[in-house]
Symmetry: C2
Subunit: 712 residues, 2 copies
Amino acid sequence: MTDSSLSRLFNPQGIAIVGASSTPGKIGAMPVRLLLQHGYGGRIIPVNPRADAIAGLPALPGLDALDADVDLAILAVPAAHAAQALERARPGQVGAAVVFTSGFSETGAQGTAQQERLCAIARERGIRLLGPNCLGFMNVRRNVYATFSPAPANGIVAAGGIGMVSQSGAFGAYAYSMARERGLGLSHWISTGNEADIDVADCIEWLACDADTRVIMAYMEGCRDGAKLRRALAAARAAGKPVVVTKIGRTQAGAQAAASHTAALAGDDAVYDALFRQYGALRARTIEEFFNLGYALDTWKRPPQGRRLGIFTISGGVGALMADEAEDTGLALPEPAAEAQARLLERVPFASGRNPVDVTGQAVSEPGLLLATADDMLADGRYDALAVFLAAAGSSEALWPTFEAFARQMQARHPDVPLAISALFPPARRRELEQLGCLVFTDPSAAIRTIGAVAGLAAHTGSDVVDDAPTMPAAHTPPLLDAYNEVQAMALLRQAGLPASPCTLAADVDAAVCAVAELAATNGDAAPVVLKVVSPDITHKSDVGGVKLNIRGEAAVRQAYADIMAAVRQHRPDARIDGVLVAPMAPKGVECIAGVHCDPVFGPVVMFGLGGVFVEVLKDVSFRLAPFGRDEALAMIREIKGYALLQGARGAPPCDVDALADALAALSRFAHARRADFSSVEINPLLALPEGKGVVALDAVVIRGEGAAQTV
Amino acid sequence: MTDSSLSRLFNPQGIAIVGASSTPGKIGAMPVRLLLQHGYGGRIIPVNPRADAIAGLPALPGLDALDADVDLAILAVPAAHAAQALERARPGQVGAAVVFTSGFSETGAQGTAQQERLCAIARERGIRLLGPNCLGFMNVRRNVYATFSPAPANGIVAAGGIGMVSQSGAFGAYAYSMARERGLGLSHWISTGNEADIDVADCIEWLACDADTRVIMAYMEGCRDGAKLRRALAAARAAGKPVVVTKIGRTQAGAQAAASHTAALAGDDAVYDALFRQYGALRARTIEEFFNLGYALDTWKRPPQGRRLGIFTISGGVGALMADEAEDTGLALPEPAAEAQARLLERVPFASGRNPVDVTGQAVSEPGLLLATADDMLADGRYDALAVFLAAAGSSEALWPTFEAFARQMQARHPDVPLAISALFPPARRRELEQLGCLVFTDPSAAIRTIGAVAGLAAHTGSDVVDDAPTMPAAHTPPLLDAYNEVQAMALLRQAGLPASPCTLAADVDAAVCAVAELAATNGDAAPVVLKVVSPDITHKSDVGGVKLNIRGEAAVRQAYADIMAAVRQHRPDARIDGVLVAPMAPKGVECIAGVHCDPVFGPVVMFGLGGVFVEVLKDVSFRLAPFGRDEALAMIREIKGYALLQGARGAPPCDVDALADALAALSRFAHARRADFSSVEINPLLALPEGKGVVALDAVVIRGEGAAQTV
């Protein structure tokens, strides 16, 4: 599984620094100094034609002077010399190169050409490339400082289980400093810069296999290879390593800024959002959230296994504030067992035994009260996590033994209930609690939000992604048409396993009568039908008199047919007419819309929403990358704000949400399997019928792919 | 304006401590020790019948032994003795009492009775009461420590311009500690506890007049006197003192928790939310937001005067992250002048001159670059605030002189553009920048969110509230009916200045014909009408055949009348029938709903929303307390998520939003002026017509107040 060329890069036995310098402040001086200072265990080889020795180490004039293979070369020379310097390496001799130098693709066409030349040289010599225009990387556990970031100079981070990768050097340096301030331990810190070869996805995939890494934190601005990123996120999930990701460009303003920064479109953010949801990566909107999530996943041995939260407080008011946040974040607040509540009220008559459980300020004067009450609360396994608020009492050294004993005992007695404490502890005390495995937050709401975010992880088991499951062997695929009218589109969807309304194209009036008779044989004589003109030239059929509803009996069919033809010929004498579509009248249901479009990076993406104002005014839609299974489809349906309408709002019966999910999953399999043939599908309306009655597609538009669909 | 009895309380010249103790840890020992330790300048009089002296001060046996008037008595005795102790004061002798003691109304009926007795005794003696069951208060500038909170023992806060008041002692103590940690300066810190007399609103109103206070931060759980709270918020606004408020119970879970904590309903949170919006109080959802807002308002001499934000960064990626947050929070990001952009690109060819302006890491090597670029950017007054991100460079002591000079010069040259810097400065450096008037945030998104929140303040001028403006002199009010049918309801609204559809009640067929003729005279002969049965017993008129649409001409009117009567008699032979309503057919427009209900604390509240799924499924409504003017009505309209529909979504023309606002303002004036007479109004639909065509109320239900409406 592990990419050994990346292992050579990130865990090098020897490092050559091209452009090494002994002048402090020069970018070629930084890695030499850091490697020496922090006791890197491998060989350090300065390369500089104008020096015999750097920092006491003998220097070589160029990579061609190496006497043995070296895993890593750091390039700290101007852009004009970088390719030349690399060119001097013999094929197979250098495993990987980190290129600090800027002045490549980020500067325009000339720089892009230079970058391509650098890549070609590296490829020819079998050298993997990190950068150019990057701050390099650090392997914190093995003291590999292949970086010129000034961040370690202000203090180094602890070694730990977080693998951190950032496309942006500035973000990366800030994140490094934040990790240090917050006491998070890193396994690796990587900046990818221009990503000429190795990108964030490569790093995520490698970290997923790295034994030192338990949690992956990634910052990205865009992605050029969607399939690789999916593979990387799938690998992390398969390895049970949570991924926290920040991607810029959530909004129009942000996307514009990102585009002007990366000189490339950041891509459709909604698709990234779908991707992260689908693969269980936690998307952080802010740097603070990024760290709160990384902190929780790193500190807790395992995240909460469900969404049942206990709130335990010495302030009723702040308990309510926390309950507000819990509801916002979708956490449930079940009550403790009646016995536990009664026991608390015996101990403290003015306490509140429900959830939030408020033991009141009494906890400060009775040392045993906290533990006894929390013990009772957790006795019967009804909570997946516990959030505790200790108010200002956390700052009191006199009370520290009480709180320390509480945290220690809770961890020992209830190891399956992750614990987050909110209080103002002095930094040293905070670290002690963290070492016990507790989270500590100053802001109780941040504690709740963080629990809400990581509690979602347990639900993502990964069983739902069906990446390599085309529904239909190629041999059974009917021959492709150049274009599909709505009847053909519906037939195509029916073949794909979607419940499309049984419509028929009737080329003349007798065929229409015949089609109606056939429908009557299935649906019963009394069932009315609809007739619609079918023409590649007419989009808005009603506007030209091309639709007749509620037709019953042969005479009425003939009359309707004649009326339609007359009206259409009058309004649009030039229109080509394929005939009329004959279909049963739609039953009562909730109108939904399902669609597929082809994202240039990620391939086919399925969209779901409710009809009418929901899609058109409120943009209330959800997305998932094809293909996916029923569980993911259910998540996608529940995600929209108008979901209540499917649950039976306004006195209507609840809709058949399971059938709707099956239809979306089928659509996603079709979109994936036929991604080379079709660039878009829109089913509008997709009618959701009452529970047990299924769904039915009433109309569809299918657009052939014109080379747009890539094999993803 | 200032309540002098509260001034005596919060700025006492002498303090008697009843229950004073020399045993450390006792609640009666705390204030004595704190007052002495921090050098309170007034007289300190311990009261304790069992001691001659406390902490070196002579003690009195009871308040009756006082030789002179005293402004403040602190009661630190058990609940059973509190009333007794106060009873010993002679009328007029003690100005106010702070009652620490718990065991009053928070404990049930017996405690409530005790609390009432305490109040009566205080009232008889002209003593204002803070508490009981509170942590007391501090006047930080004058070293008044009338508290037993342990928070000051861990370090005292700086004196400053923030007046802080909290209903909850635990929240208050935590907030005190947070203020200390974040370096915020307080004028007063007040906890109100059970609020037997003085409540949070009293304190806000007093702080609004207090010369030492510039910003008010309030935490509340509920409010019993809505009019007082409105008056307090209005006073703060009139004094130009921003109010930051946290109120628990935003969600159902939070409201439940709050109710079980305060043993009283927290009230309808949507109404509080409306109140805060209306009076320009900034509502904070979390403790962190509470402090970010207080911090910004305290540090900046004046908040941004508009919503145009400049983002200035050394990292393009984080700039985009900040742009994302700016769009979320509704800040605009105008581009700098073309000249400023060109000048930056001359200096740093790979920079980005648009907004976010990214000077790149080059800023670190060129000390003058930051200032020169920011100067250019702000030269022509197109920004209301500037947010700067300096990445990890903030931790560098070598770069400190550059950053310090930048901040100092920016403040000097652009005093009207408040500056927020995001970086990881060491605490001492952060404080230096704050003393220059800059905000400093670790999280750049928090900086943007905070700017977004406080930038709203400038828009709230207070000119819009028309508290004392009943529309109609009592003399002109027509006599009240016991109940109103829809025709009478519409007439009532028409009198109130609302554009109600001109409907008439016709008692028989001839009257109906006559009414149609009258309408024809106004609307033109060809305009069709609608006929609806009017009966106090029939709600769903269509279900009983009681509605006929699109009627033209006398014959059709007679036929429709006869059909309606026949159908209604068949379906509901027992129904009382008042006649038929005759109205013009409704024009095309967007269906809205406007309503009024009477909140038990705040009086009449106006609701606005769009018809259909918007109200019924999405609960997409906004509220305001009556009465209000057009600007507030416009804000209320823009607040709903479906606002796009009124702007002309889906190819429809934009609606007459101004007329809609006028109608809501008129409704609010009616609701306020007639609050004693009517308990609820619902106008459904209120039809918004295309721009310039106004709005029209098509149907209304008005419910008489049955003693429910209070005079607010």
